[in-house]
Symmetry: C2
Subunit: 235 residues, 2 copies
DNA sequence: GAGAAATGGATCCTATAGGAAAGTTCGTAT
DNA sequence: ATACGAACTTTCCTATAGGATCCATTTCTC
């Protein structure tokens, strides 16, 4: 039971490089690949997704595809019609988008305030690093927009993590809000203003001011939902 | 590409009744069966769950078991160790239980207030029906306790539903709080006091008083976490 | 010509078989 | 007696085959 013998075991972690050769990558890789396909709308919202077809296209057997689809169905990214196959989840309606931001307004300002209360020097450093990691690219390419979305996602997840509540973090992650928003608005939405607001939120948290952090986050979400996202819905 | 023709889904919701007779029961049945096994601790927390073993025990092939396990892993009820199999999720630590109730205190009082704002005669009737459906059984059997847990779950889900936010409802359901609490405390926890509090919450919502509903829900959760659940942790 | 029934194709669902990796056990050398 | 090494067993992971169901097209009848 107790393996206390010191047998060097230097060959395992000789290099810090992750040497995981291929640990059950397939099902997880399929999961990520399909999620990417959904995000890029290479699979149109509402369209059918054939298990066999996906398996052929990805070059794997249907079994891992089935497993990945089951997980995506659990995350409400695909819908299962029991004897008729899977379909990509439709785009969010305007009511659902409002509901999503109402939920974010419920948990994220709270998370920002708690993060400010619990802030450490390490946490502040991580926050500033994330803010600085994303310099506004002048090119308005698809890839740049996608990278900005990924940064926005990491930023909000990091705040939920710094709030010290795994439940809040999980609840936020399970909304998959960035995926839904990205699917809704193919064109550029996140821009300089968003990055400036991120900086303000980060500084409020880093300075340990819960009230300012909560307000900054609330303002950020309200601006995003009412000024940036909703107008695009009607166009 | 352009799927402009969508003449379907017109006769789907003609009747609100779900007309799904028995569609693809197996994978879903396995999912429910394993969840039940987890809840009753017939599978001990942290113990290994063999795909093949479960398949033999349930009399099905490993494929639907694999699918069910993938969904349960997505719900964080089991953990997957990539080339070593699945394990039942361990019991909640005291910190995790505190975190769970902190999250419930964040969303459920809000949901109670919104439910009170939006209450209709139909909603009030459903609320009262749920409260009245569960008369306190004098017998302290395992089955009776389980029924009380199920009632408590339905009651809180109903309030989240009446709040009109699918996000909040999903977030609540995905905590699987009743399953975790049931696994933690095999002995009786829910009793007469809980049912009385449910009645007070229901009346506050039914009478359309958001402030009273929010306070009643907050009190209910605080009493449950600090007076009923936490003391049992140390014993 | 229009509607309904039957047939063909495609898809999903379940079961079984084979290959690979990890854990375990036993034997042997020090 | 202990530690190391090799073979075995168990388990998971992937692939393929067969049975059942649903959708679409065609054909027959009124």
């Amino acid at each position: 039971m107790g393996r206390a013998q010191d047998t060097e075991s230097a060959s395992v972690s000789e290099f810090g490089i992750e040497m995981l050769p291929r640990r059950s990558a397939l099902a997880d890789e399929v999961h990520e690949a399909v999620k990417e396909l959904l995000m890029d709308q290479r699979i149109a919202p509402g369209s059918r997704m054939s298990i066999d077809g996906l398996a052929r296209e990805l070059g794997v057997s249907p079994t891992p595809v089935r497993e990945a689809l089951a997980r995506l169905e659990s995350a409400e990214l695909v819908v299962k019609e029991p004897l008729r196959g899977y379909r990509a989840a439709p785009l969010l309606t305007r009511e659902q988008l409002d509901d999503l931001y109402r939920f974010r307004l419920l948990i994220e300002p709270w998370a920002a305030a708690r993060a400010a209360e619990r802030i450490t020097s390490d946490g502040a450093a991580r926050l500033r690093a994330e803010v600085d990691s994303c310099d506004m690219p002048d090119e308005n390419s698809y890839a740049a927009y996608k990278e900005l979305t990924a940064h926005d996602d990491r930023f909000h997840v990091l705040i939920a993590e710094l709030a010290g509540s795994a439940q809040v973090r999980s609840a936020f992650e399970r909304t998959h809000c960035h995926l839904h928003i990205f699917r809704l608005y193919f064109d550029r939405v996140i821009g300089t203003k968003t990055l400036e607001e991120h900086g303000a939120i980060a500084e409020s948290i880093a300075s340990g001011d819960p009230g300012a952090a909560e307000l900054a986050m609330r303002t950020h979400l309200e601006v995003a939902s009412q000024q940036r996202l909703r107008p695009l819905y009607d166009s």
